[in-house]
């Protein structure tokens, strides 16, 4: 009995909790991608770098707060800096829309052209972020490190295995729930949200019923900026901030959005968790869990790790390929908001 409990604790500590946190971060990122796809109808390759830009502003403001001695008690100061990051990112994406994307919208360009344009924006953002903060790792998490520590948990339960929950993991999940709830409330209950959904469903009908497309686009970018900054900051708090890693996040984020069905917000969330759980379970070394569960003589010699962590991109890619082959519209029907 104790062995089973120990196995469960190990499983929770190394698989469940990290996967839930990572899944929430991916889900927020995928929501941004899927909103752009639903309303503006293109795959935004600049999204990873938009996240990097937002996080960078948050980090800079955090440092400024720290130098002034402002802190958020046990919570990371970055949460206080978040609104500044969102505001700066909103200015950036709406600026890029005015200067770059709007022209192609007016000329009714193909989605592929938008995609290539977003590659150009990606280049600019890449340069901008590296120019301002540099290409290196930045750690900006402060406050309490843990909600539950390994030692305390062992004392509390008397088990051999400990369970730790990092503050950043707790914050990630709570923030993700709040943000997603707010987003769905906005999309389903408010006039602007409804007009966004109408515009995504059928552009011509929406225009006929008097919806102002520029207004819809404006609010979409605003929401995307907030989602990208929050997702980026949570990821940065949980792991660390490195511009190139954010660029690489594009792949799992796109995989999440496509697995769920591009353009479908509910699907983006589901896809985020599917990708995160597969990535973590496939790259985790199962030896400890199995040793607890099976009789002693069956205990495995190796690490029982399906793939080394360097191949985590392969996991999201394989899932993506499977979904493309079997159900190209995604788990939830894609292309509706």
């Amino acid at each position: 009995m104790m062995d089973i409990l120990n196995a469960l604790v190990v499983l929770a500590n190394f698989v469940m909790i990290p996967a839930v946190a990572y899944g929430s971060q991916l889900a927020l990122g995928a929501l941004g991608v899927t909103l752009v796809y639903g309303v503006l109808r293109f795959s935004n390759f600049a999204h990873g770098d938009t996240m990097a830009f937002g996080t960078m502003v948050v980090i800079l403001v955090t440092w400024w707060f720290q130098s002034m001695g402002i802190s958020f008690g046990p919570l990371p100061t970055a949460l206080l800096a978040l609104p500044f990051g969102i505001a700066a990112t909103a200015v950036l994406v709406i600026g890029s829309d005015r200067m770059v994307y709007r022209f192609y919208r007016q000329t009714k360009s193909e989605p592929v052209v938008f995609l290539i344009v977003s590659l150009g924006v990606m280049f600019v953002l890449n340069g901008l972020v590296r120019f301002i903060i540099g290409p290196n790792d930045q750690s900006f998490s402060d406050g309490e490190r843990f909600i539950i520590k390994v030692g305390d948990f062992k004392k509390m339960t008397g088990l051999d295995e400990g369970l730790a929950i990092k503050t950043t993991q707790g914050i990630t999940v709570v923030t993700a729930i709040v943000v997603v709830a707010a987003l769905f409330w906005f999309l389903n209950k408010t006039r602007t949200g409804k007009s966004m959904r109408a515009f995504s469903d059928n552009e011509d009908l929406a225009l006929l019923s008097g919806i102002n497309p520029e207004r819809v686009v404006f609010y979409t970018w605003l929401i995307v900026a907030a989602l990208a900054t929050i997702a980026g900051t949570l990821y940065g708090l949980d792991k660390s901030f490195k511009p190139f890693v954010y660029f690489q996040l594009l792949l799992p984020i796109f995989a999440a959005a496509i697995v769920g069905g591009l353009g479908n917000p509910l699907g983006a969330i589901a896809g985020g968790f599917v990708i995160a759980f597969s990535e973590v379970t496939i790259t985790y070394a199962w030896k400890k869990v199995i040793t607890y569960v099976v009789p002693e003589t069956w205990a495995p010699d190796g690490l029982v790790q399906l793939l080394s962590t360097e191949y985590k991109f392969a996991v999201s890619f394989v899932i993506l390929v499977i979904v493309l082959l079997i159900k190209p519209t995604g788990l939830f029907k894609g292309k509706s908001l």
Partner: protein, 434 residues
Amino acid sequence: MSDTQKTYALFALVAVLILGTGFVQSWNTALFILNMGLISAIMSLGVNLQWGIAGLLNVGIMGFVALGGLATVLVSMEPVPDAWEAGGPRILMGLAVGAISIVALVLSYTKLPKGWVRAIGTIVVAVIGFYVTRSVLDPAVQAVEGVNPALTGYLGGLGLPVLISWPVGGLFAAAAAWVIGKTALGLRSDYLAIATLGISEIIIAVLKNEDWMTRGVKNVIGIPRPVPYEVDLQADPSFVERATSFGLDPMTASTIYVKLGYAVLFAIVLIVLLWLSQMALKSPWGRMMRAIRDNETAARAMGKNVTARHLQVFILGSAICGIAGAMMTTMDSQLTPSSYQPLRFTFLIWVMVIVGGSGNNLGSILGGFLVWFLWVQVEPLGAALMDIITSPMAEDSALRDHLVKSAAYMRLLTMGIFLLVMLRFSPKGLIPEK
């Protein structure tokens, strides 16, 4: 000015820029720009085939280039006998088992009756195949990687002349392109983009982590060269004599001679590929491809198999990128998996194609040279500019220090703005499609 004159003028401009570099900076730099320009031109020729002529979006160029690099190692490095003895046959067996299990997986998916039987059957086959492959492969991999890891620790290659690796690199890239094309073509265009982005990251991950094949991050150095070594040239009295008769010291003369040798080889490949592409473009096949690009539905109504044609052109374009990748690794004479950066090997090639003129082979070649020249030269220019901007600031100012250090990232910014401005004001590029 007619179109032809404009084309000549633009190519003359590139020649002037490269020659100017030779006169102002050094001939070594100029030849380096020329050689990498030739390689970049080949890559953008391949991408132009995919995007310009067929309208396919490939953002995994880096992966195909890296496969070309892998080909040079596997073809031209000397085999490591100890490693082969330690686990070579078993690795081959493991790979064969892996291939068989993939075939079994595909068969079980296509042949089993739909529904639960198929779902469970496929999963069972996948799991068994994975474990059998790993159990054959893993011990052999460990044994091979244990053989003198500081110097070898890998199987080596076949020890064949390095030039053979160029077409082999093309074949490798073509094989990868076939797999991607089979899954993602025929779906929405964005899916191909995302799938290629994914495969390129995975190829790089494989190169970095499969030490038995590529030595991973330990890099393979000293890949044989198709041209003589500088040291040998400097030791050759007749070469030294000729060099002094030109008024050059043997050191510089030997490096220039080697680089010129590469330039000739690369130019031959570029000219052959350009001729082939031009012929393809003018042929009925080329007209069909452009018809498909411009109106897929109409082409389909005319009985053209759009997906098959797309697959064909996607494989061809990727193969050209693979050839270019093999050439690049040959010139570097080393394989450094960590040097493959998507911004440099995927997105920069895109800038070349778009700036040069998508749909026009000459345009994409021009873009290859011009953008590569800018990529190399913007960095020192940016640094110089930053020095001027920051000169009024105090010597020990932290901001000044930061700005000067960050000048290197100016070129990402410049390239992005360059691309956006071209797309906005001259979307057809410098030499538009006819």
